[in-house]
Symmetry: C2
Subunit: 221 residues, 2 copies
């Protein structure tokens, strides 16, 4: 990984003074960076890779993004921020812990269906590289995302809606299904990530073992 | 990745004619290869990396392993074969589908506790690289491992012990917890992989939602 700062990079590259064609170019570069971070991982993607893919020179790329940190900010952190915002909004629409857990898992699966590259760019990068300020921001966003699920579970244990499990472990248990889904699920397959998650979360909430209660309780669509 | 065959590699390197010190060296090289495949992945480990770690020349390494395919056989395939053998033996000791699923998940978690590098070397490598004969063998072993779990679930659905879920999805659901566990669990932590799995499999079998049946049914230790 190389992160280089170029002295000639203009300070106003993101100041709004850029013309429309430049904005399009910036959008294109962000899209390319996101795709490469998603497929190769942040650490294994170089500025050269992005410039090559966009068919521009590295110098031209530097005009928009003087180094990889600038791309981390715009791609990785923005992806994680969007995930936290979207999933939190979905959870807030529900009252009961079971419905809130369902909303969390469904909204996360929807994110994977609709913003797959953002999910992968975010989830690949938050573990990688040196622990600089930006990585700590990414870890903090990931913590916020995971804590929201734990809180829903703890609320359910307190109300007696959930069994008295270890809420941290139950959070990891549910997040396992999401994290693994992002690795094996392919877009355009037989089922969307949302449809797979419907089955997973049903199993997680009501268990595989048949009980009269479990057979009758199917989560609301 | 480079896999080179060296003309001077003796044909009898594994013929049993090797002296005791050579056997020790071979064992040491296999251990190093396994550790590197586990930490960096098979594709990102070169023969040079292994020779450097063992503090021998590449020529000396070639004496034991003329190319990376030979190491794939000894490290990756043997790891997967051991996993299949150990988990199958554990499952066969039980009759009921619930007990067989429990045995499967526990034996897999034990494998992670006791043979972490083998688990990682096997699970990292079966997806990587070109689909040559060895990769197909690895995929077949992985399929055998996963099919065993699916069969236990299908048996449970047939007997009515499990709810009528999609057995393939239920298999993926349970395997998600194992695969993710191998990524976040650190040896020497508060809980062993086995102890974490006890909680996960309890949640998977009996669900998070409190029902009188679920509260009373805790899997046998």
């Amino acid at each position: 990984m190389t992160t280089r700062r170029v002295k000639t990079a203009p300070e106003n590259a993101h100041s709004g003074e850029a013309s429309a064609p430049q904005d399009n170019r910036e959008t294109q570069l962000l899209l390319i960076a996101r795709q490469l971070f998603a497929s190769k991982g942040f650490d294994r993607t170089s500025l050269r890779d992005i410039a090559d893919e966009a068919k521009i020179t590295k110098a031209a790329l530097y005009y928009y993004f003087p180094n990889k940190d600038a791309l981390y900010e715009r791609v990785v952190l923005e992806s994680l921020e969007t995930l936290v915002r979207v999933v939190s909004a979905a959870v807030e629409q529900h009252q009961s812990p079971t419905d809130r857990v369902l909303a969390y898992m469904r909204a996360s699966a929807d994110f994977l269906d609709e913003r797959r590259d953002q999910w992968l760019a975010g989830s690949n990068a938050f573990r990688q590289g040196p622990q600089n300020e930006q990585r700590l921001k990414a870890v903090k966003l990931r913590d916020t995302y995971e804590k929201l699920l734990r809180q829903c579970i703890m609320d359910g244990i307190v109300t007696g809606e959930f069994r008295p499990v270890d809420a941290g472990m139950a959070g990891r248990f549910l997040l396992s299904t999401l994290n693994h889904l992002s690795r094996w699920h392919k877009p355009g397959g037989r089922l969307t990530a949302h449809e797979v998650m419907e089955q997973f979360v049903n199993m997680a909430l009501f268990g595989l073992v048949a009980t009269p209660a479990a057979n009758n309780r199917v989560p609301k669509a």
